[in-house]
Protein backbone atom coordinates (compact mmCIF):
# COMPACT_ATOMS: atom_id res chain seq x y z
CA UNK A 1 0.00 0.00 0.00
CA UNK A 2 1.32 3.38 -0.92
CA UNK A 3 0.65 6.68 0.70
CA UNK A 4 0.39 9.85 -1.34
CA UNK A 5 2.46 12.74 0.00
CA UNK A 6 -0.58 14.66 1.27
CA UNK A 7 -1.66 11.59 3.21
CA UNK A 8 1.81 11.37 4.74
CA UNK A 9 1.45 14.92 5.92
CA UNK A 10 -1.97 14.11 7.29
CA UNK A 11 -0.71 11.16 9.35
CA UNK A 12 2.32 13.11 10.51
CA UNK A 13 -0.03 15.79 11.74
CA UNK A 14 -2.14 13.20 13.48
CA UNK A 15 0.84 11.85 15.36
CA UNK A 16 2.06 15.20 16.46
CA UNK A 17 -1.42 16.38 17.41
CA UNK A 18 -1.94 16.87 21.10
CA UNK A 19 -4.91 15.63 22.92
CA UNK A 20 -7.75 18.04 22.26
CA UNK A 21 -7.40 20.93 24.58
CA UNK A 22 -10.36 21.02 26.91
CA UNK A 23 -10.87 24.44 28.28
CA UNK A 24 -11.31 24.11 31.98
CA UNK A 25 -14.46 25.89 33.02
CA UNK A 26 -13.52 28.37 35.61
CA UNK A 27 -16.07 29.75 37.96
CA UNK A 28 -17.17 33.10 36.66
CA UNK A 29 -19.03 35.02 39.33
CA UNK A 30 -20.24 37.57 36.79
CA UNK A 31 -21.75 35.03 34.38
CA UNK A 32 -25.35 35.39 35.64
CA UNK A 33 -25.08 39.16 35.55
CA UNK A 34 -23.76 39.03 32.03
CA UNK A 35 -26.54 36.65 30.98
CA UNK A 36 -29.20 38.93 32.45
CA UNK A 37 -27.63 41.89 30.69
CA UNK A 38 -27.63 40.08 27.36
CA UNK A 39 -31.28 39.09 27.74
CA UNK A 40 -32.18 42.66 28.67
CA UNK A 41 -30.38 44.02 25.61
CA UNK A 42 -32.11 41.47 23.39
CA UNK A 43 -35.50 42.42 24.84
CA UNK A 44 -34.76 46.08 24.32
CA UNK A 45 -33.73 45.38 20.73
CA UNK A 46 -37.00 43.56 20.02
CA UNK A 47 -39.00 46.24 21.81
CA UNK A 48 -37.45 48.94 19.65
CA UNK A 49 -38.12 46.89 16.51
CA UNK A 50 -41.79 46.41 17.39
CA UNK A 51 -42.16 50.08 18.36
CA UNK A 52 -40.65 51.01 15.03
CA UNK A 53 -43.28 49.00 13.17
CA UNK A 54 -45.96 50.33 15.50
CA UNK A 55 -44.95 53.90 14.71
CA UNK A 56 -44.87 53.18 10.99
CA UNK A 57 -48.48 51.93 11.00
CA UNK A 58 -50.23 55.30 11.54
CA UNK A 59 -47.95 56.91 8.96
CA UNK A 60 -48.82 54.25 6.41
CA UNK A 61 -52.50 54.48 7.33
CA UNK A 62 -52.34 58.20 6.69
CA UNK A 63 -50.90 57.47 3.27
CA UNK A 64 -53.74 55.01 2.74
CA UNK A 65 -56.35 57.61 3.67
CA UNK A 66 -54.81 60.19 1.39
CA UNK A 67 -54.83 57.86 -1.61
CA UNK A 68 -57.56 55.31 -0.89
CA UNK A 69 -57.63 54.05 -4.47
CA UNK A 70 -54.01 52.92 -4.22
CA UNK A 71 -54.51 50.94 -1.03
CA UNK A 72 -53.62 47.28 -0.68
CA UNK A 73 -57.31 46.41 -0.32
CA UNK A 74 -57.01 43.00 -1.87
CA UNK A 75 -54.27 42.02 0.55
CA UNK A 76 -56.39 43.27 3.45
CA UNK A 77 -59.49 41.34 2.43
CA UNK A 78 -57.45 38.20 1.74
CA UNK A 79 -55.87 38.47 5.19
CA UNK A 80 -59.24 38.97 6.86
CA UNK A 81 -60.53 35.89 5.12
CA UNK A 82 -57.50 33.81 6.06
CA UNK A 83 -57.22 34.87 9.69
CA UNK A 84 -60.92 35.46 10.37
CA UNK A 85 -63.28 33.41 8.24
CA UNK A 86 -61.09 30.34 8.20
CA UNK A 87 -60.74 30.49 12.00
CA UNK A 88 -64.50 30.40 12.65
CA UNK A 89 -64.55 26.62 13.08
CA UNK A 90 -61.68 26.22 15.50
CA UNK A 91 -62.64 29.22 17.65
CA UNK A 92 -66.22 27.90 17.87
CA UNK A 93 -65.05 24.43 18.88
CA UNK A 94 -62.63 25.67 21.54
CA UNK A 95 -65.05 28.35 22.79
CA UNK A 96 -67.88 25.86 23.16
CA UNK A 97 -65.71 23.40 25.09
CA UNK A 98 -64.45 26.10 27.44
CA UNK A 99 -68.02 27.29 28.00
CA UNK A 100 -69.23 23.80 28.81
CA UNK A 101 -66.30 23.07 31.14
CA UNK A 102 -66.51 26.36 33.00
CA UNK A 103 -70.26 25.99 33.41
CA UNK A 104 -69.93 22.41 34.62
CA UNK A 105 -67.29 23.23 37.24
CA UNK A 106 -69.03 26.38 38.49
CA UNK A 107 -72.45 24.84 38.74
CA UNK A 108 -71.12 22.07 40.98
CA UNK A 109 -69.82 24.71 43.39
CA UNK A 110 -72.80 27.05 43.11
CA UNK A 111 -75.29 24.29 43.77
CA UNK A 112 -73.65 23.48 47.08
CA UNK A 113 -74.24 27.09 48.13
CA UNK A 114 -77.70 27.21 46.63
CA UNK A 115 -76.59 30.11 44.46
CA UNK A 116 -77.66 28.54 41.16
CA UNK A 117 -78.71 31.74 39.42
CA UNK A 118 -75.23 33.24 39.70
CA UNK A 119 -74.06 30.89 36.97
CA UNK A 120 -75.27 33.57 34.57
CA UNK A 121 -73.02 36.21 36.16
CA UNK A 122 -69.97 33.98 36.31
CA UNK A 123 -70.24 32.73 32.75
CA UNK A 124 -71.39 36.04 31.31
CA UNK A 125 -68.67 38.20 32.81
CA UNK A 126 -65.94 35.59 32.58
CA UNK A 127 -66.52 34.77 28.95
CA UNK A 128 -67.50 38.14 27.48
CA UNK A 129 -64.87 40.10 29.35
CA UNK A 130 -61.92 37.75 29.69
CA UNK A 131 -62.09 34.30 28.18
CA UNK A 132 -63.57 35.15 24.79
CA UNK A 133 -60.87 37.69 23.84
CA UNK A 134 -58.15 35.53 25.39
CA UNK A 135 -59.12 32.29 23.62
CA UNK A 136 -59.35 34.16 20.33
CA UNK A 137 -56.02 35.86 20.78
CA UNK A 138 -54.21 32.63 21.63
CA UNK A 139 -55.76 30.79 18.70
CA UNK A 140 -55.09 33.63 16.27
CA UNK A 141 -51.50 33.95 17.50
CA UNK A 142 -51.02 30.25 16.87
CA UNK A 143 -52.77 30.20 13.50
CA UNK A 144 -52.19 33.58 11.86
CA UNK A 145 -49.22 34.89 13.83
CA UNK A 146 -47.12 31.89 12.92
CA UNK A 147 -48.34 32.07 9.32
CA UNK A 148 -47.38 35.75 9.02
CA UNK A 149 -43.92 35.17 10.48
CA UNK A 150 -43.31 32.17 8.27
CA UNK A 151 -44.55 34.01 5.18
CA UNK A 152 -42.26 37.00 5.73
CA UNK A 153 -39.42 34.64 6.64
CA UNK A 154 -39.77 32.66 3.43
CA UNK A 155 -39.87 35.93 1.52
CA UNK A 156 -36.56 36.80 3.17
CA UNK A 157 -35.10 33.45 2.15
CA UNK A 158 -36.22 33.82 -1.48
CA UNK A 159 -35.11 37.49 -1.53
CA UNK A 160 -38.66 38.61 -2.34
CA UNK A 161 -38.45 40.90 0.67
CA UNK A 162 -35.44 42.70 -0.81
CA UNK A 163 -37.04 43.02 -4.22
CA UNK A 164 -39.83 45.34 -3.01
CA UNK A 165 -37.74 48.24 -1.66
CA UNK A 166 -35.38 47.91 -4.61
CA UNK A 167 -38.35 48.57 -6.91
CA UNK A 168 -39.18 51.64 -4.84
CA UNK A 169 -42.18 50.01 -3.17
CA UNK A 170 -42.22 50.52 0.60
CA UNK A 171 -42.82 47.05 1.98
CA UNK A 172 -44.50 48.28 5.15
CA UNK A 173 -47.49 49.45 3.10
CA UNK A 174 -47.69 46.29 1.00
CA UNK A 175 -46.89 43.65 3.61
CA UNK A 176 -47.21 44.92 7.18
CA UNK A 177 -50.13 47.36 7.10
CA UNK A 178 -52.59 44.92 5.47
CA UNK A 179 -51.86 42.33 8.15
CA UNK A 180 -52.21 44.79 11.04
CA UNK A 181 -55.50 46.12 9.66
CA UNK A 182 -56.80 42.64 8.87
CA UNK A 183 -56.14 41.27 12.35
CA UNK A 184 -57.46 44.44 14.03
CA UNK A 185 -60.71 43.88 12.11
CA UNK A 186 -60.93 40.09 12.24
CA UNK A 187 -60.04 39.43 15.89
CA UNK A 188 -62.83 41.57 17.47
CA UNK A 189 -65.36 39.85 15.20
CA UNK A 190 -63.96 36.49 16.21
CA UNK A 191 -64.20 37.58 19.85
CA UNK A 192 -67.94 38.21 19.47
CA UNK A 193 -68.40 34.90 17.72
CA UNK A 194 -66.38 32.89 20.24
CA UNK A 195 -68.08 34.51 23.22
CA UNK A 196 -71.50 33.78 21.74
CA UNK A 197 -70.68 30.14 21.10
CA UNK A 198 -69.08 29.75 24.54
CA UNK A 199 -72.15 31.24 26.21
CA UNK A 200 -74.43 28.87 24.32
CA UNK A 201 -72.24 25.93 25.38
CA UNK A 202 -72.29 27.20 28.97
CA UNK A 203 -76.07 27.63 28.93
CA UNK A 204 -76.52 24.14 27.58
CA UNK A 205 -74.34 22.70 30.32
CA UNK A 206 -76.19 24.74 32.97
CA UNK A 207 -79.44 23.29 31.73
CA UNK A 208 -78.14 19.75 32.20
CA UNK A 209 -76.52 20.46 35.57
CA UNK A 210 -78.82 22.92 37.25
CA UNK A 211 -82.01 22.48 35.28
CA UNK A 212 -81.90 26.16 34.31
CA UNK A 213 -83.59 26.55 30.93
CA UNK A 214 -81.63 28.14 28.07
CA UNK A 215 -84.20 30.95 27.75
CA UNK A 216 -83.92 31.70 31.46
CA UNK A 217 -80.12 31.88 31.08
CA UNK A 218 -80.25 34.18 28.06
CA UNK A 219 -82.90 36.44 29.61
CA UNK A 220 -80.74 36.79 32.73
CA UNK A 221 -77.63 37.81 30.76
CA UNK A 222 -78.35 41.51 30.08
CA UNK A 223 -78.95 42.21 33.76
CA UNK A 224 -75.89 40.28 34.90
CA UNK A 225 -73.47 41.57 32.29
CA UNK A 226 -73.59 45.33 31.54
CA UNK A 227 -73.19 46.07 27.83
CA UNK A 228 -69.92 47.90 28.43
CA UNK A 229 -68.30 44.48 28.89
CA UNK A 230 -69.13 43.62 25.33
CA UNK A 231 -67.36 46.74 24.14
CA UNK A 232 -64.45 45.97 26.40
CA UNK A 233 -64.19 42.53 24.82
CA UNK A 234 -64.34 43.98 21.31
CA UNK A 235 -61.76 46.64 22.19
CA UNK A 236 -59.45 43.98 23.53
CA UNK A 237 -59.93 42.11 20.28
CA UNK A 238 -58.78 45.12 18.25
CA UNK A 239 -55.70 45.67 20.44
CA UNK A 240 -54.78 41.97 20.63
CA UNK A 241 -55.17 41.56 16.88
CA UNK A 242 -52.93 44.52 16.09
CA UNK A 243 -50.35 43.38 18.66
CA UNK A 244 -50.23 39.85 17.27
CA UNK A 245 -49.76 41.18 13.74
CA UNK A 246 -47.00 43.59 14.78
CA UNK A 247 -45.10 40.97 16.77
CA UNK A 248 -45.47 38.42 13.98
CA UNK A 249 -44.25 40.89 11.35
CA UNK A 250 -41.34 41.96 13.52
CA UNK A 251 -40.10 38.41 13.95
CA UNK A 252 -40.75 37.64 10.30
CA UNK A 253 -38.57 40.56 9.19
CA UNK A 254 -35.80 39.47 11.58
CA UNK A 255 -35.51 35.98 10.09
CA UNK A 256 -32.13 35.20 8.56
CA UNK A 257 -32.02 33.54 5.16
CA UNK A 258 -31.73 29.96 6.42
CA UNK A 259 -34.19 27.25 7.39
CA UNK A 260 -33.15 26.97 11.03
CA UNK A 261 -33.77 30.66 11.63
CA UNK A 262 -37.18 30.25 10.01
CA UNK A 263 -38.25 27.60 12.51
CA UNK A 264 -36.78 29.37 15.53
CA UNK A 265 -38.26 32.72 14.47
CA UNK A 266 -41.74 31.28 14.06
CA UNK A 267 -41.63 29.66 17.51
CA UNK A 268 -40.36 32.85 19.09
CA UNK A 269 -43.03 34.88 17.33
CA UNK A 270 -45.89 32.76 18.67
CA UNK A 271 -44.51 32.62 22.21
CA UNK A 272 -43.87 36.36 22.25
CA UNK A 273 -47.24 37.33 20.85
CA UNK A 274 -49.08 35.19 23.41
CA UNK A 275 -46.98 36.73 26.19
CA UNK A 276 -47.60 40.23 24.88
CA UNK A 277 -51.33 39.54 24.69
CA UNK A 278 -51.40 38.34 28.30
CA UNK A 279 -49.48 41.44 29.38
CA UNK A 280 -51.90 43.67 27.48
CA UNK A 281 -54.79 41.82 29.11
CA UNK A 282 -53.34 42.59 32.53
CA UNK A 283 -53.09 46.25 31.56
CA UNK A 284 -56.75 46.19 30.48
CA UNK A 285 -57.70 44.58 33.78
CA UNK A 286 -55.93 47.33 35.74
CA UNK A 287 -57.29 50.22 33.69
CA UNK A 288 -60.90 48.98 33.62
CA UNK A 289 -61.01 47.36 37.04
CA UNK A 290 -64.15 49.26 38.10
CA UNK A 291 -65.87 49.39 34.74
CA UNK A 292 -68.77 47.11 33.93
CA UNK A 293 -68.73 44.94 37.02
CA UNK A 294 -72.05 45.47 38.73
CA UNK A 295 -72.09 44.36 42.35
CA UNK A 296 -75.76 44.21 43.17
Amino acid sequence: MQLRPEHDIFFANLESAHAPHVESRRFDPLAPVRAIGLVALLLLDHLIGILHLFGQTPLDSLDLLRHPSRGPWREISASIYRSGTEALGITAAVGCLIGVTLSYLSSEQLRSFGADTFIVNILGLGIVRELGPMICAVLVAGRSGSAITAQLGVMRVTEELDALPVMGIPYTVRLILPKVIALAVAVPLLVLWTSAVALIGGAFSAQLQLGMSMTQFMLGLPAAVPTINLWLGVGKGVVFGALIALVACHFGLRIQPNTESLGAGTTRSVVTSITVVILADAVFAIIYFDVGISLT
Binding site: H67, S69, R70, T158, E159, E160, D162, A163, P165, V166, M167, G168, I169, P170
Partner: protein
Protein backbone atom coordinates in the same frame (compact mmCIF):
# COMPACT_ATOMS: atom_id res chain seq x y z
CA UNK B 1 -9.18 33.32 4.40
CA UNK B 2 -9.06 36.85 3.19
CA UNK B 3 -9.33 37.20 -0.54
CA UNK B 4 -7.16 39.23 -2.77
CA UNK B 5 -8.43 42.34 -4.36
CA UNK B 6 -8.28 41.42 -8.07
CA UNK B 7 -10.98 38.81 -7.58
CA UNK B 8 -13.48 41.25 -8.94
CA UNK B 9 -12.47 42.70 -12.24
CA UNK B 10 -14.21 45.46 -14.01
CA UNK B 11 -14.38 44.70 -17.68
CA UNK B 12 -15.60 47.25 -20.20
CA UNK B 13 -18.67 45.96 -21.98
CA UNK B 14 -19.06 44.94 -25.56
CA UNK B 15 -16.22 42.44 -25.56
CA UNK B 16 -15.74 38.91 -24.39
CA UNK B 17 -16.34 39.86 -20.81
CA UNK B 18 -20.02 39.95 -21.45
CA UNK B 19 -20.59 36.29 -21.88
CA UNK B 20 -18.59 35.18 -18.91
CA UNK B 21 -20.71 33.67 -16.21
CA UNK B 22 -21.31 35.80 -13.23
CA UNK B 23 -21.40 39.17 -14.86
CA UNK B 24 -23.42 42.22 -14.05
CA UNK B 25 -24.12 44.41 -17.01
CA UNK B 26 -25.11 47.96 -16.55
CA UNK B 27 -26.15 49.78 -19.66
CA UNK B 28 -26.33 53.41 -18.71
CA UNK B 29 -29.13 55.67 -19.79
CA UNK B 30 -29.22 57.32 -23.17
CA UNK B 31 -30.43 60.64 -21.88
CA UNK B 32 -27.85 61.29 -19.18
CA UNK B 33 -25.38 64.12 -19.42
CA UNK B 34 -22.06 63.02 -20.73
CA UNK B 35 -19.66 63.32 -17.84
CA UNK B 36 -21.93 62.73 -14.87
CA UNK B 37 -21.18 59.28 -13.56
CA UNK B 38 -24.20 57.06 -13.00
CA UNK B 39 -22.54 55.01 -10.31
CA UNK B 40 -19.63 56.15 -8.20
CA UNK B 41 -18.12 53.78 -5.69
CA UNK B 42 -15.04 54.90 -3.86
CA UNK B 43 -12.89 53.51 -1.09
CA UNK B 44 -15.26 50.63 -0.51
CA UNK B 45 -14.37 48.08 2.16
CA UNK B 46 -16.52 45.10 2.98
CA UNK B 47 -15.50 42.75 5.75
CA UNK B 48 -17.38 39.68 7.00
CA UNK B 49 -15.55 38.47 10.10
CA UNK B 50 -11.99 37.90 8.91
CA UNK B 51 -13.08 37.64 5.29
CA UNK B 52 -12.20 40.83 3.45
CA UNK B 53 -14.46 40.83 0.41
CA UNK B 54 -13.81 44.30 -1.01
CA UNK B 55 -10.54 46.06 -0.35
CA UNK B 56 -10.57 49.75 -1.20
CA UNK B 57 -12.69 49.22 -4.28
CA UNK B 58 -13.23 52.01 -6.81
CA UNK B 59 -15.84 51.84 -9.55
CA UNK B 60 -17.22 54.51 -11.81
CA UNK B 61 -19.87 53.84 -14.42
CA UNK B 62 -20.61 56.52 -16.99
CA UNK B 63 -23.88 56.97 -18.91
CA UNK B 64 -24.17 54.66 -21.89
CA UNK B 65 -21.55 52.34 -20.53
CA UNK B 66 -21.91 48.60 -20.15
CA UNK B 67 -19.78 47.21 -17.35
CA UNK B 68 -19.30 43.57 -16.49
CA UNK B 69 -17.96 42.36 -13.21
CA UNK B 70 -16.10 39.12 -13.62
CA UNK B 71 -14.95 37.01 -10.72
CA UNK B 72 -15.15 33.60 -9.19
CA UNK B 73 -18.09 32.51 -7.14
CA UNK B 74 -17.90 34.09 -3.72
CA UNK B 75 -15.70 36.97 -4.84
CA UNK B 76 -18.24 39.60 -3.83
CA UNK B 77 -20.14 40.51 -7.00
CA UNK B 78 -23.57 40.05 -5.48
CA UNK B 79 -22.50 41.81 -2.33
CA UNK B 80 -21.29 44.81 -4.33
CA UNK B 81 -24.57 44.95 -6.21
CA UNK B 82 -26.60 44.74 -3.00
CA UNK B 83 -24.54 47.60 -1.60
CA UNK B 84 -25.13 49.76 -4.66
CA UNK B 85 -28.84 48.93 -4.35
CA UNK B 86 -28.77 50.06 -0.74
CA UNK B 87 -29.71 46.65 0.70
CA UNK B 88 -26.43 46.31 2.59
CA UNK B 89 -24.03 48.89 3.85
CA UNK B 90 -20.28 48.75 3.32
CA UNK B 91 -17.98 49.01 6.30
CA UNK B 92 -16.21 51.93 4.79
CA UNK B 93 -16.43 53.97 1.62
CA UNK B 94 -19.13 55.84 -0.21
CA UNK B 95 -21.56 54.92 -2.95
CA UNK B 96 -23.34 57.44 -5.13
CA UNK B 97 -26.00 56.58 -7.66
CA UNK B 98 -27.10 59.31 -10.10
CA UNK B 99 -24.92 61.60 -8.03
CA UNK B 100 -26.92 60.98 -4.86
CA UNK B 101 -25.14 59.39 -1.89
CA UNK B 102 -27.03 56.35 -0.63
CA UNK B 103 -26.16 56.93 2.99
CA UNK B 104 -27.82 59.93 4.59
CA UNK B 105 -30.17 60.88 1.77
CA UNK B 106 -33.87 61.37 2.37
CA UNK B 107 -35.92 58.18 1.92
CA UNK B 108 -38.21 59.85 -0.61
CA UNK B 109 -35.20 60.83 -2.70
CA UNK B 110 -33.93 57.26 -2.53
CA UNK B 111 -37.34 55.98 -3.60
CA UNK B 112 -37.10 58.20 -6.67
CA UNK B 113 -33.73 56.72 -7.58
CA UNK B 114 -35.18 53.26 -7.20
CA UNK B 115 -37.75 53.93 -9.89
CA UNK B 116 -34.98 54.79 -12.32
CA UNK B 117 -33.26 51.43 -12.11
CA UNK B 118 -34.22 47.87 -12.90
CA UNK B 119 -32.80 44.92 -11.06
CA UNK B 120 -32.52 41.26 -11.94
CA UNK B 121 -31.27 39.40 -8.90
CA UNK B 122 -29.45 36.10 -8.97
CA UNK B 123 -32.55 34.01 -8.22
CA UNK B 124 -35.07 36.22 -9.97
CA UNK B 125 -36.96 36.91 -6.72
CA UNK B 126 -40.43 36.85 -8.26
CA UNK B 127 -43.35 37.06 -5.85
CA UNK B 128 -44.39 33.46 -5.42
CA UNK B 129 -47.86 34.50 -4.29
CA UNK B 130 -48.59 36.45 -7.48
CA UNK B 131 -49.00 35.21 -11.05
CA UNK B 132 -46.48 36.23 -13.70
CA UNK B 133 -48.62 39.09 -15.00
CA UNK B 134 -49.07 40.66 -11.56
CA UNK B 135 -45.36 40.28 -10.88
CA UNK B 136 -44.39 42.29 -13.94
CA UNK B 137 -47.09 44.84 -13.22
CA UNK B 138 -45.90 45.51 -9.65
CA UNK B 139 -43.58 48.46 -10.43
CA UNK B 140 -46.13 49.96 -12.85
CA UNK B 141 -48.98 49.74 -10.34
CA UNK B 142 -46.86 51.53 -7.79
CA UNK B 143 -46.62 54.57 -10.06
CA UNK B 144 -50.39 54.42 -10.67
CA UNK B 145 -50.24 56.67 -13.65
CA UNK B 146 -51.49 54.19 -16.25
CA UNK B 147 -54.82 52.68 -17.20
CA UNK B 148 -55.38 48.93 -17.29
CA UNK B 149 -55.33 48.65 -21.08
CA UNK B 150 -51.93 50.26 -21.30
CA UNK B 151 -50.60 48.11 -18.48
CA UNK B 152 -51.82 44.96 -20.20
CA UNK B 153 -50.19 45.91 -23.51
CA UNK B 154 -46.98 46.86 -21.76
CA UNK B 155 -46.72 43.53 -19.96
CA UNK B 156 -47.39 41.55 -23.12
CA UNK B 157 -44.78 43.57 -24.97
CA UNK B 158 -42.17 42.83 -22.31
CA UNK B 159 -43.11 39.15 -22.27
CA UNK B 160 -42.55 39.03 -26.04
CA UNK B 161 -39.26 40.78 -25.57
CA UNK B 162 -37.92 38.15 -23.19
CA UNK B 163 -39.36 35.35 -25.32
CA UNK B 164 -42.05 34.10 -22.92
CA UNK B 165 -45.28 32.95 -24.53
CA UNK B 166 -48.32 34.97 -23.54
CA UNK B 167 -50.21 31.91 -22.33
CA UNK B 168 -47.82 31.75 -19.37
CA UNK B 169 -48.92 35.16 -18.14
CA UNK B 170 -51.37 33.80 -15.59
CA UNK B 171 -49.25 30.95 -14.29
CA UNK B 172 -47.70 31.07 -10.85
CA UNK B 173 -43.91 31.33 -10.61
CA UNK B 174 -43.76 27.92 -8.89
CA UNK B 175 -45.09 26.32 -12.10
CA UNK B 176 -42.27 27.69 -14.24
CA UNK B 177 -38.68 26.63 -14.78
CA UNK B 178 -35.73 28.52 -13.35
CA UNK B 179 -34.76 29.91 -16.74
CA UNK B 180 -38.28 31.19 -17.39
CA UNK B 181 -38.37 32.84 -13.96
CA UNK B 182 -35.14 34.58 -14.77
CA UNK B 183 -36.49 35.93 -18.05
CA UNK B 184 -39.73 37.04 -16.42
CA UNK B 185 -37.70 38.78 -13.73
CA UNK B 186 -35.86 40.56 -16.54
CA UNK B 187 -39.21 41.62 -17.99
CA UNK B 188 -40.10 43.05 -14.58
CA UNK B 189 -36.76 44.84 -14.39
CA UNK B 190 -37.39 46.36 -17.84
CA UNK B 191 -41.01 47.34 -17.40
CA UNK B 192 -40.32 50.87 -16.24
CA UNK B 193 -37.79 51.47 -19.04
CA UNK B 194 -34.99 51.93 -16.51
CA UNK B 195 -32.02 54.17 -17.14
CA UNK B 196 -29.82 51.79 -15.20
CA UNK B 197 -30.02 48.04 -15.29
CA UNK B 198 -28.43 45.63 -12.83
CA UNK B 199 -28.17 42.01 -13.88
CA UNK B 200 -26.72 39.49 -11.45
CA UNK B 201 -25.53 36.35 -13.26
CA UNK B 202 -28.14 36.85 -15.96
CA UNK B 203 -27.19 33.81 -18.01
CA UNK B 204 -26.64 31.30 -15.20
CA UNK B 205 -29.27 28.56 -15.34
CA UNK B 206 -30.28 29.25 -18.93
CA UNK B 207 -29.87 26.79 -21.77
CA UNK B 208 -27.14 27.78 -24.27
CA UNK B 209 -29.61 28.94 -26.94
CA UNK B 210 -31.53 31.12 -24.56
CA UNK B 211 -28.34 32.39 -23.01
CA UNK B 212 -27.21 33.49 -26.48
CA UNK B 213 -30.48 35.29 -27.16
CA UNK B 214 -30.39 36.79 -23.67
CA UNK B 215 -27.05 38.40 -24.42
CA UNK B 216 -28.38 39.64 -27.78
CA UNK B 217 -31.42 41.10 -26.04
CA UNK B 218 -29.26 42.94 -23.54
CA UNK B 219 -27.03 44.24 -26.32
CA UNK B 220 -30.08 45.52 -28.16
CA UNK B 221 -31.29 47.62 -25.24
Amino acid sequence: MSQDEPDVQVVPGGQGGKRSEGGQHKPGGQGGHEGDPVIEVSGLWTVFGDNVVHRDLELTVMPGEVVSLVGGSGSGKTTLMRQILGLEHPHRGSIKVFGIPLLGSHPLLLRKIRRRWGVLSQEGALYSALPVFENIVLPLRELRAFDEGFIHDMVMLKLDMVDIERRHAWKMPADLSGGMIKRIALARALVLEPELLFLDEPTAGLDPDRSESFVKLIQSL
